[in-house]
């Protein structure tokens, strides 16, 4: 059954109509935008490499909140919770009893979006309803997002421990629309870790939007680990807006989902802002992982650096699209982008599309993209020292990825990411041996 009345978009429209919300409200406007756009098709340039037919046919309706995570799900979720401040969500809703708000400096606000809307609307007002006409996924999120994380850092506050936003998808056949907001006041500094995972058999769709506002001189380190279940879909859009002298460091690790697309838009709005976007993709079997970034140099003297590495095994597909816009006033811009894919199988495929739109003349911009197999010389070198073929392959892949993981500032987070990589490689080796 793939009729129009049973596909994912239609199920969302039907649900929205059934909810009977206020016709003139922001949600209704967002829903109308989505209705006009529909799920993006590959005819749209920005979605050329990533098709959503499977997502459409999966007939995923917005989660209605009736089903709750089982005790088995809860114990799986509990096992993954690290120490430190965190907001935990299951099936799109805050789980206060699993969250930890303790130990934060005075003035720091960390709470769920639903709570904030109900009790402190001033915290989130005017910060979540930016309307992006062309982005269907953001519109759909705006129409449905019921919860998410809100973190507000007052000026000058520096958090010494990362704050975690964790989402667990337990239900199957459902869609979760989360919306997070981080406001980093002038001169503040923090690390935020977003984690997405789910029950092994969950065939669900998580569609997240994260808004990041960086005040003057603020530093925000944003780490995202996408480890959704094997049948799950994941789409996400992060928008960072940087004031003068602010610093945004992003690290995205993909290790899960059948299809994932992570969009990052960084707007360098005032002079001296800088951002660094790093990403690692680990994909096997028929996984499809898409990283799409837009860096908007809107002011003079800003710098941006992007470095993404993908490891593709089996029939996996890795996509990177990176647009860099340098506006006429953005003189003295420095922008660099590097995309590297390692193909572990002849059937794996990588697509890289850099797009530089430069309207200023005094700039330094560069980009590069490579895709290739493991270095045969390096493999032989390791084997000539007694290291077996599988182990040698794993060491080379680990080395390829470690160069980026090592850039993650927080030691605990870095160690966690390294162990994810090691586990992924161990599993890959087991599968190869089992064949």
């Amino acid at each position: 059954m793939t009729g129009a009345d049973t596909d994912t978009a239609a199920l969302h429209l039907a649900r929205f109509a059934a909810l009977g919300g206020e016709a003139g409200g922001a949600r209704a406007r967002a829903m109308r935008r989505f209705e006009a756009l529909g799920l993006p098709s590959q005819r749209i340039e920005a979605w050329h490499y990533t098709g959503l037919n499977a997502l459409s046919k999966a007939a995923l309706a917005p989660f209605d909140g009736t089903k709750t995570a089982s005790s088995a799900d809860d114990s799986m979720l509990g096992a993954r919770l690290g120490a430190g401040p965190r907001l935990v969500f299951a099936d799109g809703r805050l789980r206060a009893e699993l969250s930890d708000l303790s130990g934060l400096p005075a003035g720091v606000r960390l709470l769920g979006l639903a709570d904030a809307r109900a009790r402190e609307p001033s915290l989130v007002e005017n910060r979540l309803d930016a309307e992006d006409e062309a982005r269907a996924m953001r519109a759909l999120n705006a129409a449905f997002a019921a919860d998410g994380a809100v973190l507000v850092l007052p000026a000058g506050v520096r958090l010494d421990r990362p704050v975690q936003f964790i989402h667990f998808a337990a239900a199957s056949g459902a869609a979760f629309h989360l919306r997070h907001l981080v406001v980093a006041g002038e001169g503040s500094a923090a690390t935020v870790v977003e984690t997405y995972f789910g029950a092994p058999r969950s065939a669900s769709w998580t569609n997240a939007v994260t808004e990041l506002e960086l005040g003057r001189g603020a530093t925000l380190r944003h780490v995202k680990w996408q480890d959704e279940a094997a049948l799950a879909f994941h789409t996400a859009s992060t928008h960072a807006r940087l004031a003068g002298g602010a610093r945004f460091e992003s690290f995205v690790l993909h290790s899960g989902a059948r299809l994932a697309r992570n969009e990052i838009d960084a707007t360098l709005a005032d002079p001296g802002a800088s951002c660094r976007l790093l990403g690692v993709t680990l994909a096997r079997e028929k996984q499809h992982i898409d990283n799409t970034t837009v860096i908007d140099h809107a002011a003079p003297g800003c710098t941006s650096k992007e470095h993404y590495r993908g490891v593709l095994d089996g029939e996996a597909r890795g996509v990177f699209q990176g647009r860099i816009v340098v506006r006429p006033q953005a003189q003295k811009t420095a922008a660099h982008q590097l995309i590297e894919h390692l193909l572990l199988s002849e059937r794996a495929e990588a697509s890289a599309k850099p797009e530089l739109e430069i309207h200023a003349d005094d700039v330094k911009c560069g980009h590069g993209a490579t895709a290739g197999a493991l270095d045969e010389q390096a493999l032989f070198y390791l084997r000539a020292r007694g290291i077996g073929l599988e182990r040698a392959r794993a060491m080379l892949v680990e080395g390829f990825v470690a160069a980026l993981v090592d850039e993650v500032e927080d030691e605990g987070v870095r160690a966690r990411l390294s162990s994810v990589v090691a586990d992924w490689l161990a599993q890959a080796a087991d599968e190869r041996l089992a064949v």
Partner: protein, 252 residues
Amino acid sequence: MLEIRNLHAEVGGKEILHGIDLSVAVGEVHAVMGPNGSGKSTLAYVLAGREGYVVTKGEIVYDGKDLVAMAPEERAREGVFLGFQYPVEIPGVSGLSFLKAAVNEVRRHRGQAELDAVEFLKFMRQKLKLLDMSEDLLKRAVNVGFSGGEKKRAEIVQMAILEPRLAVLDETDSGLDIDALKVVSNGINALRGPDRAMLVITHYQRLLGHVVPDRVHVLAQGKIAVSGGKDLALELEQKGYAMLGAKDVRAA
């Protein structure tokens, strides 16, 4: 320890080695010299088992075993070490974790207990002391950003740590200045021993001034043209490879 009999080998479908006979006894150091393109590096790669270096005829017997049938890692675990002419840079892989993995592969193969991180460091430091070398090189990613001399020194450190029974050193002296040559040749000499055989492949005589071989073989056009004692190297240095075939010193 090593018996090479009528060895023919090809690379990319082209025969490079046209019947080599060579025998190295345990405790001996043999030098293999020869002009560029004579097949010296091919011989080294064939001994180490590099993919694409195909033995088409003849045999290589190492410790009574058929070396050709073994994968490169099996040869290494059995005690064959290749010192690379161009050691490979491996970004992101730390020298220490690489060497620890290698040592433990060899130890497991020999039925010895694996070394943990602390035991490995202790073992490594003993070996470095023996060579009078510092561990700085090993803390970085494998060979990444090393100068030519550092790469060759690192190969000698690896040899010391892996304790091979047969070391094949492929132009370990190439690209070294006088000081680096001294460090490297002192290292090689420190690792000579009654339980170890070495095949030192070199284009020039100068390494052999420091590492005095028991036998010298000269390779030309994929065959051993002459063999002799240590003085053969000196004679070659004076007369050049053009002397090959002009004089039979095999009886020397």
